[in-house]
Symmetry: C3
Subunit: 309 residues, 3 copies
């Protein structure tokens, strides 16, 4: 039988379709149980250690709530920089110590590859909660869960990824995850912030349908799912280009007038100003539901990886 027991969750592209199905099905089961207001006992007597070497309140709280909803317990390091690491301790030594305290470890770290390094140090399962410009696989999984839940399916959808596609860890990982699901991608971004060529080429090589545009409004009209990310002014070489574009990449209610009925608007949060607050009341504005979906998806991951092998 398929299992994720004692596995690490390190990258969005590590999963087979069968594994994704297992995670989604497990998450749906937990969401159903939560609705019943049952106190679960799945992780009774188990301890999660969160280790955040850079702060990310949203991600930390989401993992901690997921563990507590499962009946487990949490020991928490919200800002690991003020800890032993400051005294010169290696990540390896920190992990070798924490594995003596906890049954599963969630790591956030500013350095690419830190999660893989941590996973190599210990037999306890490690979940990557973001390693710098690297991966953030649990975000991609909750994005996937949200698309499936909001749209009722994933196959056949037109999914627009919009905003800063050059630097966005989130959109890179989501593209990876969706690539085996027969979606049509639209990548909407300013020229300076296009999806990296190697990602586009890799998708095309896998036979994925990809279109690119600088026109967000046009992309909106074609989309089943619109995934917004923030455009950061400081990333433009030419400030005048940013001035020209900045309003074109703020999603407004007016831009939604041309959207297909039932379109889903997503955002990894935090939002600064890239979605006008007037959009919040749009029925397809799913970004807060998306955040809430982090709970059942992370419950599923925590429960699956801590099963006995």
């Amino acid at each position: 039988m398929l299992k994720l027991a004692q596995k690490d969750i390190l990258r969005a592209d590590q999963f087979s379709r069968e594994e994704i199905d297992l995670i989604m099905e497990t998450a749906r089961g937990f969401e159903h149980e939560l609705d019943g207001e049952k106190a679960l006992e799945t992780m009774r007597g188990k301890i999660l250690s969160t280790l955040f070497f850079e702060p990310s309140t949203r991600t930390r709280l989401s993992f901690e709530a997921a563990m507590l909803r499962l009946g487990g317990e949490v020991i928490s390091v919200a800002e690991a920089k003020s800890s032993s690491a400051a005294k010169g301790e290696s990540l390896y030594d920190t992990i070798k110590t924490v594995e003596g305290y906890a049954d599963v470890i969630v790591l956030r770290h500013p350095r690419i590859g830190a999660a893989a390094e941590a996973a190599a140090a210990t037999n306890k399962p490690v979940l990557n909660a973001g390693d710098g410009a690297g991966q953030h696989p649990t975000q991609s999984l909750l994005d996937f869960y949200t698309i499936e839940k909001e749209q009722g399916k994933v196959e056949g959808l037109t999914v627009t990824l919009a905003g800063d596609l050059k630097h966005g860890r989130t959109v890179h990982s989501l593209a990876d995850l969706l690539a085996s699901y027969n979606v049509h991608f639209v990548f909407a971004s300013p020229r300076a912030l296009r999806m990296p060529t190697e990602i586009v080429e890799k998708l095309k090589a896998r036979g994925v349908s990809v279109a690119e545009t600088e026109n967000l409004a046009e992309a909106v009209a074609a989309s089943d799912v619109l995934y917004m990310t923030r455009i950061q002014g400081e990333r433009f070489d030419d400030p005048s280009e940013y001035d020209r574009l900045k309003n074109a990449y703020i999603l407004t209610r007016a831009m939604l007038a041309r959207a297909k009925e039932g379109m889903t608007v997503m955002h990894p949060l935090p939002r600064v100003n890239e979605i006008a607050t007037e959009v919040d009341s749009y029925p397809g504005a799913a970004y807060f539901r998306q955040a809430a979906n982090g709970i059942p998806v992370r419950m599923a991951l925590l429960a699956l990886v801590t099963e006995r092998a």
Copy 2:
């Protein structure tokens, strides 16, 4: 039947007498159960999220202990400033996210009105743990609980509020709460730090008996309850006035010689030097018992507001 189910706790003046009675009775019940050393199951499977945008260890620990004593769980942000808010996220978005993780939210924020703003953003109950110079209603309720417990009643008491009555959020809210209980107020403060005129006028308009004095020693002699607050030197325009007054507003054992038998001394804590430590052994020195009363009172509030509507 009277209920507070799914209500927010935002202001000390929001409560009817019946609601105050319900909270006090519920708190007494929990205090009795705690004495029996029972592990309660009232909030089993429920999660409280504390969100402290400014640190307040005492208040945070008190709420968290209350939730844990009820059998519930806690996710905690001790210093929210290092979180998404730092990336420019609005309070609205933070609350919309956290409502997906928790069943009840306790918010501390430096801005007046922040708690009401948070409550408007979510259907989950929000408890105001202090919004800047605004309100701190759970402090007032535990003060009320303490007076009733120490004195056996509230009606008919002479209650002296002493110290910095101009800036003291705590004493403003307590005056509001006691106003419907037929107490006689004495406001003892330096001239520069008198209770704001609008509060005094409002109390008088409600028929409340109010006296004002600059003489703390005299006020002590008349009081059933003496509620001390700190006088901050930096709030005087005239430093020589502070020098003249500073010792007159430090409560000493000598000043208690003229007190009525059974007088209760209270303080919201932290104390700096406004109550000499020699007073701690005075039988009526209730300030540490007052802090401990935060547990049953906050248990009552958490349990009442999370009931099904």
Copy 3:
């Protein structure tokens, strides 16, 4: 019957042999129960408050995990300096407040004597998790537990304490604890960092066998237990002496070639560079197991001191 009920844990030298035996036996029992993956109920409904006035992630997580493994709950102050203390509150007042919230208190404080001060303020048990250059008794107890577990006994062993023996709180306390167990001590350190004369004299006066050397390699060859600590360059008056010594006090695999079979290598962690990582795979390299032993030992202490007197 011997008990530690309602006692404070303040100093490594406070324990009788009988008390040490009780702690070790209780810890072994809990370790056995943890292996059975049972969720314990020993501390059900009880709350531990950690109060860390200086950060120590390892020690805090270890205590918190111990409490949670016992079925208890935790309220946590990871950095108390940003709390009421910053507003000028005394440690006495902080403790008097927290005793109203929790059943047992774990205190870390930069000031020698702070733990004793805290213990004097409250009837609730206080566990000293390090008071500056003072004591850190739970570290010594887990060190003792580790030696007994790794070597199968304590009596008759040759125990080398190596590195900075002048400033090392850990090695002073461990020497105290082992002194009544008929061990032979070797103190291996640079001349500038020798074990303080008064400690050596005190041990000798108790009839303990003590040898001193500057030669770590030689000490290694004689040891059953080698307890490494870090040598800090900044503590040398003469930098050239540090340059001469610094490699001699880094434990390498090569130095272990002459070690007795079954020698145990320990370290209180965090390690910087005083044990080469190549040593980690040495079978006797016990420092990460030592850290993990903090859980059963602290479980034992928490459970014993919270028993009814």
